[in-house]
């Protein structure tokens, strides 16, 4: 059998040991974990991972079923096509937005990014009391003028009454 890539999500009530249990069950299936990310969202456990191996989606679901037995976690498994992120030729930027919580901050600001073909590669939003924070990693395609995008973001930010900054995320090669 050839290897198949599966996207697996585990969501729900946090407790110690979820990752250990999930990964040990996947290891038994011989599933090779590729990229994964996990965080707590308002205290809720949220993990996404890509695993490759010969196990079928049904076999993975069966193996992870015990995780969901007490009703506090939900698991999804689906086959995905291997999709190597290609060298885009774009430039990496970090967008920070922060201000008073109100509806539409994310959609308004990232709308400006989408308008110029910018691709968001990482996104975190946090609500802390009244303070709302958005941090996005963005790849801007060659030919997009960051100053023009920044001006558009600043215009939207002013309308929302929030602060925004766009800065280059170029790494120092050592």
């Amino acid at each position: 059998m050839t290897d198949q890539l599966h996207a697996i999500t585990v969501l729900g009530h946090d407790r110690p040991g979820i990752i250990a249990e999930t990964t040990s069950r996947l290891a038994v299936l011989g599933l090779n974990l590729e990229d994964s990310t996990m965080t707590l969202l308002r205290g809720h456990f949220a993990m996404m991972l890509l695993g490759s191996g010969t196990a079928s989606g049904a076999a993975i679901e069966d193996a992870l079923a015990p995780l969901t037995s007490d009703g506090t976690l939900s698991v999804t498994v689906r086959a995905v096509v291997a999709d190597e992120s290609s060298a885009s030729g774009g430039t990496p930027w970090i967008l920070s937005v922060h201000g008073g919580d109100r509806p539409g901050i994310v959609s308004s600001v990232v709308g400006e990014v989408a308008r110029v073909g910018g691709n968001i590669t990482d996104l975190t939003t946090r609500l802390s009391g009244e303070l709302y924070v958005v941090i996005a990693e963005i790849v801007l395609p060659a030919g997009v003028d960051p100053a023009t995008l920044d001006a558009a973001i600043q215009r939207v930010a002013r309308e929302l009454g929030v602060g925004a900054s766009l800065r280059v995320a170029e790494a120092d090669d050592l």
Binding site: T37, M38, T39, S85, A87, S88, G89, G90, T91, P92, T121, D122, T124, E137, V139, A169, E170, A171, D172, D173, L174
Partner: protein, 182 residues
């Protein structure tokens, strides 16, 4: 201090060879390098090879022996042409170097020729005092470095100790897939 600033690879008395740069995962990158005799001919040759390999690698501001497959505490640095550089000491090679003083941590995103597809946010001291020995003469020198040169020195000294920037990233979400390739 001026001893280091005046140093050039001409003191090594030989033209180095351009070596292949090792990429992670490789055992040589994750084990501590051996202390060397800076006067040994093979160490002088290694120093010349490191400088030669750094010179032909675009954007390269430093290279440590483990990155060319040699588990030894030798590295070269030259940040003089980098746009972020303020103060610098030009090209130099140090053997058995260690950081003896450090202060003022700053976080910045780093990349590495040995980990070409990832970058990571790393906090490092922006003012350091490094002590090491020059290849050839073996004389002890001290270098007081700041900002970008300080970061480069710590990155190379880490390589000599078997540490990659991945060992120092600021958190679980501080490693990134590189978007552009040099």
């Amino acid at each position: 201090m001026s001893r280091l600033r005046d140093w050039t690879e001409l003191e090594l008395g030989q033209q180095g060879r351009v070596l292949q740069v090792v990429r992670a995962p490789a055992d040589v990158l994750s084990g501590p390098g051996a202390e060397v005799d800076p006067t040994a001919p093979e160490v002088v040759r290694l120093a010349a090879d490191l400088v030669a390999t750094m010179r032909v690698s675009p954007g390269c501001v430093g290279l440590a022996a483990p990155q060319v497959g040699v588990s030894a505490r030798v590295f070269c640095v030259d940040v003089s042409a980098h746009p972020k550089t303020r103060e610098h000491h030009g090209t130099f090679v140090l053997c058995n170097a260690e950081v003896v003083e450090s202060s003022r941590n700053e976080k910045a995103r780093e990349g590495c020729m040995s980990v070409p597809d990832l970058t990571g946010d790393v906090k490092r001291a922006s003012r350091i005092l490094v002590r090491g020995r020059l290849p050839g003469s073996g004389e002890e020198v001290e270098v007081r470095a700041e900002a970008f040169e300080a970061r480069a020195l710590q990155h190379e000294i880490d390589h000599c100790a078997g540490l990659l920037f991945l060992d120092r990233v600021a958190g679980a979400h501080a490693v990134y897939a590189r978007q552009t390739y040099l």
